[in-house]
Amino acid sequence: MTIQDWFEKRKEAQIQRRALEAKVEVEGNPDLWTKCVHCDSQLLKKDLEDNDMVCPVCDYHFRINATKRIKQLFDEGSFEELFKDIKPTDPLNFVDTEPYKDRLEKAHAKTNLDEAVITGLASIEGHRMAAAVMDFDYMGGSMGSVVGEKVTRLIEKAIELKLPVLAITSSGGARMQESALSLMQMAKTSCACSRLDDAGLLYVNLLTEPTFGGVTASFGTLGDIIVAEQGARIGFAGRRVIEQTIRQKLPSDFQTAEYLLKYGQVDVVSSRKDLRKTLANIFAMHNN
């Protein structure tokens, strides 16, 4: 055990002890506290954040937004955003219970993002790459024209710069409010993947909680290597749709990263803590 490992272990043990103590005594400012959605433990928000939003008690991986993901995964200060100026519009004048335009504004207000993906150049342990990072908090990470366009441009940029690509997905699927235009983003991004493939550049997918529908059925799973984050739910059809179709209950671990690993659908399942190391290792072995 290296000194670093020892400190790491000690820190983890401390967090765990404090979380357990917190279970017993929950007083003071409620803003400081939160509950694990999985094991119900009372957690100090700060501890949860210090632990990369992984429950110190049960190891449940909370979903994280794109900004946190970028901060946690890439080398500090290495992320250089591209294509930020591509913004959504409302080509169909779509109105459901609420106009699409209003939904876009609300999503922007909630996340301070212009769309459900952030694209740019970055590095992990020194390995340079083009990266797309999706954000579920922006309209369920759904893929509309902007997501499709940004991912496609990123892939084209990677081909131009001869860089490998990492796509980190977190998405409910296609953006219904853009109807067939959003469906076509599946074709557009996949066609771009075919050129990336022809160029012989490495493409890695990191599937995170949750990745479904049109993203799973396009650029989200076309990687040469597919890594899934521990506990992430990944699938084509939603659980409810399947249950309604086959009229039976599904096992609780259905469509989890671990379940898909068992069925040969992903290459690697990694905990959040190990992701940097896992990805750096993979990129390091494709350096030529």
């Binding site: 100026d85 591509i86 913004k87 959504p88 519009t89 080509p91 169909l92 779509f94 109105v95 459901d96 219970t97 024209s145 902007v146 499709g148 366009e149 496609t152 296609a174 953006r175 219904m176 409010q177 853009e178 109807s179 067939a180 235009l181 959003s182 469906l183 076509m184 983003q185 599946m186 074709a187 557009k188 996949s190 066609c191 771009a192 993947c193 075919s194 050129r195 022809d198 529908g213 049109g214 799973t216 059925a217 396009s218 650029f219 989200g220 799973t221 076309l222 699938g235 084509f236 059809a237 939603g238 749709v241 399947i242 179709t245 086959i246 599904l250 259905f254 469509q255 069925y263 659908q265």
Partner: protein, 316 residues
């Protein structure tokens, strides 16, 4: 024949005509003039009705139980069909059928989703909902066609890829994704026709083509109007409203450059005249082929890439 609710006025006129004919025959009265007027009226009404259908009404025609299916079109348009079965990995998904055939004497690869017309048939074809193995079979045939320079024609009528346990376990998502990616690499003309329901990724998985056409009353959408209604409108009974909002019919899809054109259906829908429908479809295919024949393999690939590359609406 199944009569759709909005078609009932036509049935009523037709019943009246029959009645008049009966009276005329029994009484010997000359009612030819009246009958002719009614027939003219019925004709005009029909033309008017079917030319102005609402999306939710087109939906009913697109899903008509007697609508021609993939094998009907193959039999009516082609000769010498040889079905090629299986994904070579343990399954022959019956929801996607494909094979070699001659179109106007020219060998082609023709592939499509298959629906049945009876319960028994529908069970065999899984209501036109493919499994991953169906998409993999299609890809095998696409690659074969590309290798032997055979143009590819796909005919699509599906409510979507099958949402089931084994479909997830065997990679429904990645199977469709792989088709989208690898169709971009095909070195032969690819023509896709949405002949009925073109639902979501399940339809797109056969439709990364140089030319995409929609039948007059077919629809093409990211999600079924019912699914959209229950998710976005939180009310499954709002499917007709969702069908309007989603802009799923040919004129709207042409406006957004998603399809290259529509193919006229016989008055009342494709199920009223299989021969005429197949004739119109064949004409569209042959005319598209004669255009695409002028392109080199590289040009065909670029044409397909650029077609989808342009799709989308955003501000910059």
């Amino acid at each position: 024949m199944t009569v759709l609710d909005f078609e009932k006025p036509i049935m009523e006129i037709q019943e009246k005509i029959e009645e008049l004919k009966k009276i005329s025959a029994e009484s010997g009265m000359d009612l030819n003039k009246e009958i002719e007027t009614f027939e003219q009226q019925a004709d005009d009404y029909k033309k008017e009705l079917y030319a102005n259908l609402k999306p939710s009404q087109k939906l009913q025609i697109a899903r008509h139980p007697e609508r021609p299916n993939f094998l009907d079109y193959v039999n009516l348009m082609c000769t010498d069909f040889v079905e090629l079965h299986g994904d070579r990995e343990g399954m022959d998904d019956r929801a996607i059928i494909g094979g070699l055939a001659k179109l106007d004497g020219r060998p082609v690869m023709i592939i499509g989703t298959m629906k049945g017309k009876s319960t028994k048939e529908n069970l065999e074809y899984n209501f036109g909902m493919p499994q991953p193995q169906g998409y993999r079979k299609a890809l095998r045939l696409f690659k074969h066609a590309s290798k032997f320079k055979l143009p590819i024609i796909t005919i699509i009528d599906t409510p979507g890829a099958y949402p089931g346990i084994s479909a997830e376990e065997t990679g429904q998502g990645v199977a469709i994704a792989t088709n989208l990616r690898d169709m971009a690499k095909l070195e032969v003309p690819v023509i896709a026709i949405i002949s009925g329901e073109g639902c979501s990724g399940g339809a797109l998985g056969l439709a990364v083509a140089n030319r995409v056409y929609l039948l007059e009353h077919a629809y093409y959408t990211v999600i079924s109007p019912e699914g959209c209604a229950s998710i976005l409108f939180r009310d499954a009974s709002k499917a007709a409203v969702a069908a309007d909002a989603l802009k799923i019919t040919a004129p709207d899809l042409m406006k957004f450059n998603i399809i290259d054109g529509d193919i006229k259906e016989p008055v009342g829908g494709a199920h009223n005249d299989y021969d005429l429908m197949a004739k119109n479809m064949k004409e569209t295919i042959l005319s598209a082929l004669s255009d695409l024949d002028k392109m080199s393999p590289e040009e065909l690939k670029n044409d397909r890439y650029n077609k989808f590359r342009r799709m989308g609406a955003y501000l910059e």
